[in-house]
């Protein structure tokens, strides 16, 4: 070995080595340039404007804190401590333990499970109304969308397109990022999540994920209204024929676009249900921050609902366009949609702010063109962290 080390002649080839280094250097240089361009196009962090509380919140790693909070609350609590712990939580946040489906507090292994508790059957009767509340909570704001503007608080608005996204391809990438419109279109039959893993929507829908859909749709492919149409009880609602302008959110003559915001406080039942008979045709998962959405922050932070991570479910009801948008927050950053197992929210990946991934549910029902839901059907919920 020593002999080889000392006596083996080393031959240097300067030109190939220099060429190789140049190629490696060029590749690295190009990668850095691309990365910087992407960073400029899609800001990954919200640039805070507003009072000092907004700057403090924007400086915090809210998404990481949210995931940490979720992990902490998923730790198993020793059984003897569960009743007293959950009763204390209920006392602080005003939970009504009498309406829980499973009243045995020892059966909830951790606060996350208790937080996502189910209610007894019949605990929430569905009213005979055109539109019912999708969840427990407090009505923050409601009204008519004026042009493109949705009022957040008096005098402060955000754009409808920024909340829901649109199909306008004429805007620049930077504009799109600000508007929340930079999107990754996903094929109707096969779609990919942000990790690039492919799922077959048909597989999901045909393997026990659409049991409720079948009960909501008759053999003729029409959604059934059972209890909420007193004039036409048990009539078939011809949702298949409704063709709203989902892409551009335009309303027909004589109609208007309405909005309503319901805030779920920490002690509230955190599952959400269908507020009417409707068909979900598209899901848009917007990457974003996880600011608090408490009434205090709603008053403080402009564009809050278009900054936070959210899932826009777009579709139609008998009056035209219909959409429901669960918006995440710091303590409840994860959104679950029961009929969409591919959806993963509050993930570690640093996805550019304002971009979204789009998935269509057309293959759930060829006739209706989406996933049919009835009044009160459980759609999903919010998880801690």
């Amino acid at each position: 070995l020593v002999d080889s080390w000392k006596n083996t002649e080393t031959k240097w080839y300067p030109i190939p080595v220099a060429l190789g280094l140049s190629v490696v250097g060029f590749i690295q240089y190009r990668r850095v340039i691309q990365r910087e361009e992407e960073r400029l196009e899609h800001p990954k962090k919200y640039v805070a404007t507003g009072p000092w509380q907004v700057h403090v919140a924007a400086a915090l790693p809210l998404r990481s804190l949210s995931r940490l909070w979720g992990s902490f609350n998923s730790l198993t609590i020793p059984e003897p401590l569960r009743p007293i712990g959950y009763k204390l939580y209920s006392w602080i946040f005003g939970c009504n333990l009498d309406e829980m489906k499973n009243p045995n507090l020892c059966d909830y292994p951790n606060l996350s499970a208790f937080f996502y508790r189910e209610l007894k059957d019949g605990a929430r009767p569905i009213a005979n109304a055109t539109l019912v509340s999708p969840s427990d909570g407090k009505v923050l704001h409601f009204g008519i969308v004026q042009g493109q503007d949705i009022e957040q608080i008096k005098g402060v608005t955000y754009k409808l397109d920024a909340l829901l996204g649109n199909d306008d391809k004429s805007t620049s990438p930077v504009e799109n990022a600000i508007l929340g419109n930079s999107r990754q279109i996903v094929d109707e039959e096969e779609f990919a999540n942000v990790n690039g893993i492919e799922y077959s929507l048909d597989d999901m829908m045909n393997e026990g994920h659409s049991v409720k859909t079948e009960s909501a749709v008759g053999p003729d492919g029409l959604a059934r209204s059972e209890t909420n149409d007193p004039q036409d009880e048990r009539a078939l609602v011809k949702l298949a024929d409704v063709t709203p302008d989902i892409a551009n959110h335009k309303v027909k003559p004589g109609q208007a676009m309405f909005f309503c915001v319901v805030y779920l406080a920490p002690g509230d039942y955190h599952r959400f249900h269908s507020p009417t008979n409707w068909i979900v045709q598209t899901r848009r998962h917007f990457a974003g921050e996880l600011f608090s959405v408490s009434p205090y922050f709603v008053n403080l932070l402009q564009n809050l609902f278009v900054l936070n991570e959210r899932v826009a479910l777009l579709g139609k009801w008998k009056h035209g366009f219909f959409s429901m948008i669960p918006v995440g927050a710091t303590n409840v950053g994860s959104i679950k949609i029961n009929f969409d197992e591919a959806l993963k929210t509050n993930q570690k990946e640093d996805i550019p702010l304002g971009t979204y991934t789009e998935v269509t549910y057309k293959s759930a029902s060829k006739i209706l063109g989406g996933k049919a839901l009835r009044y009160g059907d459980e759609m999903g919920g919010f998880y801690l962290g």
Partner: protein, 32 residues
């Protein structure tokens, strides 16, 4: 967390709630 609803409806649609009101799932939000 919040749930935002955005929907098209006839102009005769009326909300049956007030801002700040507590509401339970399934209670009436609006009526035509």
């Amino acid at each position: 967390s919040t749930v935002v609803l955005v929907f098209e409806a006839p102009q005769s649609f009326e909300f049956k709630v007030t801002a700040g009101q507590k509401i339970k799932m399934g209670e009436a939000l609006g009526q035509i």
